[in-house]
Assembly symmetry: C2
Homo-oligomer: 128 residues x 2
Amino acid sequence: MSWLDEVPWGKDGMITAVAQDAASGRILMVAWMNREALEQTVARKQAVYWSRSRKRLWHKGEESGHVQKVLEVRLDCDADAVLLKVEQVAGIACHTGRESCFFRKLEDGRWMSTDPVLKDPKLIYKDR
Amino acid sequence: MSWLDEVPWGKDGMITAVAQDAASGRILMVAWMNREALEQTVARKQAVYWSRSRKRLWHKGEESGHVQKVLEVRLDCDADAVLLKVEQVAGIACHTGRESCFFRKLEDGRWMSTDPVLKDPKLIYKDR
C-alpha cells in the first residue's frame, strides 16, 4: 500500500504515534508504531501500537476495554510521526486510571500530579 | 536537579517531545530531547530540542525566528515523553511554512495536504 511506503521505516522500523482526544484536544499518550501497527490502526479504525516492553502489537484497550476509536490520521513533514485523533472509550487512556498519561506538570522544579484518577486501576484490569 | 533525574534517560539518552499550541490545542510538532535540551527548555522558557540530523542542540526558531515560548511542561506516566504547551511565534512551527508539521491527513488511502502554507519558506529563511 503506497501510503504506508511514504513512511521511511528507518533502521528500527518505528515511528512515534501521538493520540489526541478529538473532542477535548487533550494529548492522551505517546506510543510507537511499526508498519503493521499503522496498517492495522487504519484498517480497524482503532489504535494499534507496538509495545516495546512486550515486543508485540498492542491493540490499545485489549485488556482494559479502553480502546481508542480513530477518527483521523495525520503524518508529519518528515513522515516519522503520526497523530491520531481519537474518541477515547471511557475517557481513560492511562493505565493509572487517568484521562491522559501526561498527568504530571512541572511546577517549581517538581513534577506535580495534577489530574484525578477516574477509576482505580485494580478495577480496570481485575476481570481481564 | 532532581526533576531531571526522574526521567530514565535510557540507552540513547532521548525522550520524545510533543509541542502543542496552548491556545488552539493544535499539535505543532514532535521532536527529541536529551537531558540538556530539557534543562535548557525549562531554564529559557523556550523550546530547545536535540536535532538528530544535525547532532546538536536545536533552539527551535534559531534560524526562522519562530521560537516556541513554553508555558507548561508535562511528563507522561513512564517518563519517556514530555508535552510542551507553547505559544508559537508567528503561528508557524513547520519548516514548510505551515502552522503544524502534521499537515497531511490520510484520506482514502492517500496522504492529502490539508493545511495552507502561511509563509514561503524562502522568505522565512532568506536572511538567516
